[in-house]
């Protein structure tokens, strides 16, 4: 499948360039994060990377804490691959792609301890905040992983808690209090095509890549989540190179926040 496209991509990579003229380790432009784009959400952000656009919105709910962590709140991440954003996406229940994407974003935030779940507790064993982050794709021009993770983090940073009256949320009244963000995990996805590694793939590159590695990095350079994708196997050497590339790429994304 796509053998013509693949050989074209490989030919270009052998001279360090890509279909759109970029270098292998270069993000597309424009790149930006816009905060507070949805007034009805408690927090929101839109991320643009080239022609890829995603919106993340945060809604806050009251949950009863899980029995094994009675003094903690939690987060929930959902991804909607909206059929409006690509001819490939169809209406209906979340596809496996959407589920994987949501879980990878969730893991980056959860494992980096970006949010102190204990700070979300309202009443031990009874009530805690649940931070629900929904990511909606607007235009899928490739690299939804990096865009979604960045949008989710930016939306969390943009969130203001609503008022609580008698234990019930008054959504219309926002307080000045935001979520205490202790760490900013950045996800970077590296693709392997032939012997080459690239970041920020477009749709065509995603079609012809044989393997993918999403690396979530903390501000101190440590890794906090990984997800390998694609049908081909990776060597230790591949993985090492891909992590180095991700670390390099994360600097660009971190600068946008």
């Amino acid at each position: 499948m796509y053998s013509e496209l693949r050989s074209q991509v490989l030919k270009l990579l052998s001279v360090h360039t890509r279909l759109d003229g970029r270098k292998p380790h270069e993000y597309r432009k424009p790149m930006k994060v816009e905060y507070g784009v949805v007034k009805t959400a408690e927090g929101s952000a839109k991320v643009t990377i080239g022609e890829t656009e995603v919106i993340a919105g945060v809604k806050l709910e009251i949950m009863s804490p899980y029995p094994d962590t009675p003094d903690e709140g939690s987060i929930m991440v959902g991804v909607e691959l909206l059929p409006l954003s690509s001819p490939e996406f169809e209406p209906g229940p979340p596809s496996i792609r959407a589920v994987e994407l949501a879980r990878v974003v969730d893991r980056g935030i959860r494992e980096s301890k970006a949010i102190d779940f204990k700070s979300l507790c309202l009443e031990k064993g009874e009530k805690a905040w649940m931070i629900v982050i929904d990511i909606c794709t607007f235009n899928d021009a490739g690299n939804l992983f990096d865009a979604s993770a960045l949008a989710a983090l930016a939306a969390i940073k943009n969130t203001k808690f609503p008022e609580l009256v008698d234990g019930k949320i008054v959504y219309k009244e926002k307080t000045d209090q935001g979520i205490d963000v202790q760490e900013e995990p950045i996800s970077v996805t590296v693709l392997k095509i032939g012997d080459h590694f690239i970041i920020d793939p477009d749709n065509e590159e995603e079609l012809v890549a044989e393997a993918r590695l999403t690396v979530a990095l903390m501000s101190n350079g440590q890794l906090c989540a990984l997800q390998k994708g694609g049908d081909s196997a990776l060597t230790l050497d591949d993985i090492s190179k891909m992590i180095d590339l991700a670390a390099e790429g994360s600097k660009t994304l971190r600068g946008l926040l």
């Binding site: 945060v58 059929p83 629900v132």
Partner: protein, 239 residues
């Protein structure tokens, strides 16, 4: 009771601030954004394209499918659970009927035209904003259309006929009727008509007349946005 002044200070026949833009979603064949105040709708058109499963194909004409969806964070109250509801199904259906008559689907046998309407932020009037955006997106996709479709909600609050009800009016503690309509400004016909509330016939006709006037204004905004896509920056307009 008498409704002296609108809660947000608008005139009784005044539409909330509107904004319209086409070509907002690059991968779509046609796309548009339409905004009434705090209600924002995006629409993307894909097609005419192949229709699968094949048994759904109609060799006599193409089919139109509309999907109306509120994003999970688009309501100022609780989160909207993804996956659709009875409400969104019904709105998808009436949207389809509101748009279908302006298309010539016989041109696209065995094919489908998909219209996806997404609302990132809502505050009353979302089906009307969706129809306005969808109509522009169909035009942006280059489909042959007999007319534009413009939509607005009209109604009554106590003794007054009002145009473009906002949330404070929809939930007003008094007699309220909410009547969303879609109108074909050139053909002079109504393609969407629903009502919640109580209204005498005379008042209904008055409200519809005001709605038609509002739709004519809306269609100008839609047409301007469609033309705007082809305006080159820094080039003088040649009349």
């Amino acid at each position: 009771m008498t409704y002296e002044r609108r809660i947000d200070g608008r005139k009784f026949d005044e539409i909330r601030p509107m904004e319209a833009k086409v070509g907002v979603i690059k991968r779509a064949d046609g796309s548009a954004m339409f905004r009434f105040g705090n209600t924002i709708a995006y629409a993307a058109v894909y097609g005419p394209r192949n229709l699968y499963p094949k048994f759904l194909q109609d060799p006599a004409q193409g089919i139109l499918r509309c999907y109306y969806n509120m994003m999970p964070f688009s309501s100022s109250g609780e989160r909207v659970r993804p996956g659709g509801s009875r409400r969104s199904k019904e709105i998808s259906m009436v949207t389809e009927k509101a748009l279908k008559t302006v298309l010539n689907l016989k041109e696209y046998p065995n094919s489908v035209v998909d219209v996806f309407i997404e609302l990132p932020q809502t505050e009353a009037g979302s089906r009307c904003a969706g129809i306005c955006a969808a109509s522009m997106a169909l035009a942006d996709a280059g489909l042959i259309m007999k007319d534009m479709v413009s939509a607005i909600s009209v109604g009554r609050v106590d003794d007054k006929v009002v145009v473009d009800l906002d949330y404070s009016e929809e939930s007003y503690d008094g007699i309220v009727a909410d009547i969303p309509i879609a109108y074909l400004p050139t053909l002079g016909k109504i393609t969407l008509l629903q009502m919640d509330g109580i209204v005498p016939k005379k008042m209904l006709i008055d409200a519809l007349q005001q709605g038609i006037k509002a739709c004519q204004k809306i269609s100008e905004v839609q047409k301007k946005a469609l033309k705007q896509k082809y305006v080159l920056e820094g080039v003088e307009d040649v009349q």
